[in-house]
């Protein structure tokens, strides 16, 4: 069944199996996606909430940012569902 985990007789100490490679790829893809998402949210919420940068973040800027992040996550869900719920 699993032809990749047969004991190596060549003495090579490579420990990577295709499963390891696939796991590593999945992790890296997830990380790349998360970083891109983060960058997008930063841009959107900076535009919406920090209109006149002061010498520190005000309380209203703070709560705007929190709401903005929540709304953006919600918007992602709405768009995602709309794309796959085409009932025509």
């Amino acid at each position: 069944m699993d032809s990749f985990s047969s004991p190596s007789s060549t003495g090579s100490s490579s420990k990577f199996s295709p499963e390891d490679l696939m796991d590593q790829l999945k992790t890296q893809l997830a990380q790349a996606y998360a970083e891109e998402f983060l960058e997008t949210v930063r841009g959107k919420c900076f535009d919406k909430c920090i209109t006149k940068p002061g010498s520190s973040l005000s309380g209203s800027e703070d709560s705007c940012i929190s709401r903005c992040v929540e709304r953006y996550i919600e918007a992602t869900g709405i768009v995602g569902r709309a794309l796959f719920n085409q009932s025509r």
Binding site: F4, S14, F16, S17, P18, D20, L21, M22, L25, K26, L29, Y33, E36, F37, T40, K44, C45, K48, C49, C64, R67, C68, E70, R71, Y72, E74, A75, T76, I78, V79, G80, R81, A82, L83, Q86
Partner: protein
């Protein structure tokens, strides 16, 4: 792992699946960004108004409609 394992059909299938998933994620990302700009015009509230959430859903679906029209047009 010797190099012949890189050609395994299992790995190919996995790569194709991940590629497709990545393309879907990218589409959702770009669409959400564009539709946010179109639909969320004011300061974000503690929930979306119904017009905001309707706009977001409409935006995504109209984008897909448009995409279809463009493809048909380019095929003529």
């Amino acid at each position: 792992m010797d190099s012949s394992a890189l050609n395994s059909p299992e790995l190919q299938r996995f790569l194709n699946q991940e590629k497709e998933k990545a393309m879907v994620s990218e589409m959702i990302g770009k669409l959400t960004s564009a539709c946010w700009d179109k639909c969320i015009t004011g300061t974000p509230g503690s929930k979306f108004s119904s017009s905001e959430s309707t706009c977001l859903a409409n935006c995504a679906q109209r984008y897909m409609d448009m995409s279809l029209i463009i493809m048909k047009r380019l095929q003529q």
